[in-house]
Symmetry: C2
Subunit: 328 residues, 2 copies
């Protein structure tokens, strides 16, 4: 078992550099990554994870920074994970980092980490979840996960949060209504940012109407907060709502339910990743696999029946396991 | 074996409605989906698949439509798969469809299919690959796969193409340079669209320089074509380059190499999906799994060692398979 006790110790002693190194190590699935996560796991579960999402240009980063400052005023420590899946095109993640460096990261109670899609083995969602765990283990009270709300990957990332802010802005036209499809139901707090723009009140009304029409979701009715993030307007109220939602989740069974669901998904993902590793190894050493590929490309064989053939023994094992499960 | 012979027959007889239904069926993994793909598989492999990607606002849809018209002039039939991962926020996929309805889809030689992220089981990349296969089996000469170039999902989609157009536009600032990271190497033809904008020539020079500096990629040097898609300018030249690249790939071993690599990935994905199904079933019937989840959430147990425990028998099977592989 190769974990990284020295890095872990340094990070525990407060070294930001060691913390950053640990994250990089885990992100790139370097040797000892899983062991480190395993070692840190008992220390996790204390942080409150807040997802922050909205379309490009809705002011997510600015809002994240302002919320961070509000939380710092209340003496909470904060970790920020900024996920930018668009960065191969726009360089967004790096840019965001640079701007932030001058401002909130001079504060020792704040740790910012940007993640881009590329170069991340095992998927962005996993890398984000692992980073959250590390920040959690190192005592951040709040972890803000900021991501542009496009693509399934990003929805998966948002699902790793205890509470989710959904940001919209006036003036994006009717298209914004499309967010009700799939995105609406993950919002716990709705933010209408750039509220000095024309149409802000109409957007609030529309969102409110949508919430009325959407299926009942239990006792928490998502509030709609107007902000002007650049000026900090509305941010104290927003921070209050975040704390209120946290209290609501902690006092009811909401948090436990969400975390059970998340643990379930995580365990399944881990199992799939483990098995995926075996399959890759297995096929790597299987000389007949090259022939199969050639036959598939030549249309002499179809990939579906081959996949079934390869997994048949696993199906058998599944049968055995079913009988055997009491032992686990 | 429940395939859909009647739908397949109707589609083969030229019914666009039956074809659309088949795609929906496969996209939603309805019963008989795999069997239908398996049945159609021998008919695939004839179409040339062209990926078209670029940042939002680069004019992908317009360019795709104009290329389609050029190809139609040469009597090629065309299938278009428009993948819009941003649609939960912008409703893009639907909108794109509606605009197109009036124009190229009145042409019987063209079939347009839009795909959005949401509601697609098994991932967008798989749904796209399956749709391509169906269009291929039904005799489309060219299949254009248009997607916004953000996120790993979309890069995966582009990788299912035989040839890839990479679109950029002047005036996006220095950020566009970031596309060299990861995206550059998948471009076979570079397009500078909106070439009447200031900075077009500079962008061409910059792209050319980047191509000079990037590692050698064999005898095909990606050309850089200037277009003004809205006016159709440069599109005939672009279409010629596409045909040229197709010829280049067909005459060398390029196409076979790409398709071998693709078949390899596809088979591995199919195996992983099969096994994933078993795992989900297995855990569904495993009463102890709920206890494990609770222990994990309570930090009495870590998810990593549990995942390892569950996959241990599979590791054993992998050992057996290694010895046994000659029989396959």
């Amino acid at each position: 078992m190769t974990s990284h006790p020295s890095l872990v110790d340094e990070a525990l002693a407060g070294s930001v550099r060691a913390l950053a190194k640990l994250i990089t190590m885990v992100e790139n699935e370097m040797p000892g990554a899983t062991e480190t996560l395993q070692q840190l796991y008992p220390k996790t579960g204390q942080a409150f994870i807040l997802g922050i999402t909205g379309p490009p240009g809705s002011g997510k980063s600015t809002l994240t920074d302002k919320i961070t400052k509000e939380l710092r005023k209340k003496d909470f420590t904060v970790g920020i994970v900024a996920v930018d899946p668009t960065s191969p095109f726009t360089g967004g993640a790096l840019l965001g980092d640079r701007l932030r460096m001058q401002d909130i990261t001079s504060d020792e109670g704040v740790f910012v980490r940007s993640m881009a899609t590329r170069g991340t083995l095992g998927g962005l969602a996993k890398a984000t979840a692992d980073t959250i765990k590390i920040l959690d283990a190192f005592g951040k009270d709040f972890i803000l996960v900021e991501t542009v709300g496009v693509g399934q990957d990003e929805v998966d990332i948002v699902k790793t949060a205890d509470s989710t802010l959904l940001i919209s802005v006036p003036g994006l036209g009717d298209e914004i209504q499309a967010l009700k499809a799939g995105i609406m139901e993950i919002g716990d707090i709705f933010v209408v940012n750039k509220a000095d723009r024309e149409g802000a009140d109409r957007l609030v009304t529309e969102l409110s109407l949508m919430l009325d029409l959407s299926p009942a979701r239990g006792p928490w009715r998502p509030p709609i907060i107007k902000t002007i993030a650049t000026l900090g307007e509305g941010v104290p109220e927003l921070a209050e709502k975040i704390l209120e939602h946290r209290k609501f989740l902690q006092e009811g069974d909401g948090l436990l339910k969400k975390r059970n669901e998340r643990a379930r998904e995580e365990i399944i993902n881990l199992i799939e990743q483990e098995i995926s590793k075996y399959i890759h190894k297995m096929l790597k050493y299987d000389v007949t696999f090259y022939e199969v590929i050639e036959q598939v490309v030549a249309r002499k064989r179809d990939p579906y029946s081959y996949a079934r053939k390869i997994t048949e023994p696993f199906a058998k094992y599944y049968q055995i396991y079913k009988v055997d499960k009491g032992k686990s």
